[in-house]
Symmetry: C2
Subunit: 310 residues, 2 copies
């Protein structure tokens, strides 16, 4: 059996495959490649235990031969990727050579395109535009994480909404009614001690989980939420147009990810009138598990995974 | 002896006073009131040990009777303040009632003004405008921390500079020469793995420590650095003008803090043509230590601490 992992800052999605068939799927707590401190490494070890438990609960007789993981916040071969390969091999009792660790974007790209065939705009918890050229070399714009970029991603959408509410209050202006009501229904009173404890005291994924409320408020006509969403779409359009300007050969474009709702996608297209962008919904953890299918079923699995036209 | 502590996100400054005289001063690693997780509480305990060692090294026969601490990121009486009071009382072997913990801004304000006498704009690692009204009630604009605000503070200046470099690169534009050279001299190559490890893998104070380079680059004519500094001054002006609009009785205004360099201050004044703002340089840890001077010397100490005209 093969385990495919798509690890993001909001959650981990996994799929288990055997001979080209998906046997089981599941979720586990978020996992990132930010392993710069002992605390972060300790957290990662704990998260992998959760992932292990989730897989075993869904499929108790699991007998893994390989793992392919796409993990946010790292690139294949760098120290964090090697650390995570070791941790994964220990957690699932596999030899290290049976475990591959890549950036999540690299594997997401391969779920849609062969190298050189297109460019991907991804907005999940964070945001990035990414492509592999025909030589397999990676190129990107954005993807600089929550402190330096990630404009238009879920964490950014949620953070902008709280930031706007605080600025509006400081400016002595009335609060935007719809956005305020939606955030209150999730967080309780929007006073500073509550917001401070929520933003500085909880996981990044908790903040990111407010993003759908911003989209809802915008769809219901809240002007502040609409401005945030418009800004998000403009920033995402900038990522994709910058990348395609630098690599004009790649014409086929896909936009995908949890924060790329149809509402954001419609706006995004209005900011890219000269580009043809497709809306993507592929399950990346499935693609990862199938890519590891043993040789006998490989042709079949490859076809299911790599063709952009599917 | 009395220990006064001014704890910020970049460093802790402390002063030791006895009968109205400052005996010693020193620095210790940063300490904040963000104690939402066990990790954060563990870090705080460790930092207090550093502080303890720093005081004892400077004054080996220290015999403390009281501690007054102003700590960034908390307000007196809230859970984090009570936790820090307990930790301080343990670290310095004092009864809890001999330890007072306030927000850093509260004590900074009292180092300049009596309640109701003025308003303070503070830009250190973060930024805030703050005043106590004549009833002693606190009012503020800004001060929302590095994820939600702190525009014009040192961390924000440094973060903006790295963010701008990454955006300029994504846009395919040439890098700003002076700012780039200054940041390179401190960080080495400005490639993404280096920047990522620096921003996501080290203390916030390390990033904040780049702020003087942004000011230097602006002073030497770098247009990107100048835009960042102008934006900082505009944002700081907004904090102060919003606060004084809501509390017009407080006419006397002071701007202070490590990020409020004379260069930023000059720009700030150009954005506040109708306000008279004084540049403040008082040593807050001294004021805190003196405010705790025993009754016999109190009149003297109070005068040294509270008069805005000093």
């Amino acid at each position: 059996m093969q385990l495919g992992i798509d690890a993001g800052a909001t959650r981990v999605k996994w799929s288990l495959a055997h001979h080209g068939n998906i046997l089981a799927r599941g979720d586990a707590p978020a996992l990132t490649g930010h392993l710069f401190s002992k605390t972060q490494q300790g957290n990662a070890t704990e998260r992998l235990q959760h992932l292990h438990a989730s897989v075993h609960q869904a499929w108790p007789d699991v007998n893994l031969s390989s793992v392919l993981a796409g993990i946010t916040g790292l690139d294949a071969g760098e120290p964090s990727a090697l650390t995570l390969r070791t941790l994964l091999s220990r957690t699932f009792a596999l030899p290290e050579q049976a475990v591959q660790v890549h950036s999540d974007l690299h594997l997401t790209y391969l779920a849609y395109y062969e190298p050189g065939a297109g460019a991907l705009l991804y907005a999940g918890t964070g945001s990035i535009a990414y492509l592999l050229d025909s030589q397999g070399k990676a190129h990107r714009t954005g993807g600089y994480g929550y402190l330096l970029g990630d404009e238009g991603g879920a964490w950014w959408l949620a953070r902008e909404s709280l930031k706007c509410l605080l600025r509006i209050k400081d400016d002595g202006q009335p609060p935007p009614p719809v956005l305020t009501a939606k955030l209150q229904s999730s967080l309780g009173p929007l006073d500073w001690p509550t917001l401070r404890a929520f933003v500085y005291g909880s996981e990044r994924s908790h903040l990111a989980s407010l993003a759908p409320l911003v989209t809802e408020a915008a769809q219901e006509g809240d002007p502040v939420a609409q401005a945030i969403i418009a800004n998000a779409a403009r920033e995402l359009a900038r990522l994709l147009s910058n990348l395609t300007r630098l690599h004009p050969a790649q014409h086929d474009l896909t936009a995908c990810g949890g924060a790329l709702t149809p509402f954001v996608f419609t706006l995004l297209r209005s900011y890219l009138p000269h580009h043809q962008v497709t809306y993507g919904q592929r399950c990346v953890s499935d693609a990862n598990a199938l890519r590891l299918t043993p040789a006998s079923a490989e042709g079949h699995a490859e076809k299911r995974v790599l063709r952009p036209s599917q």
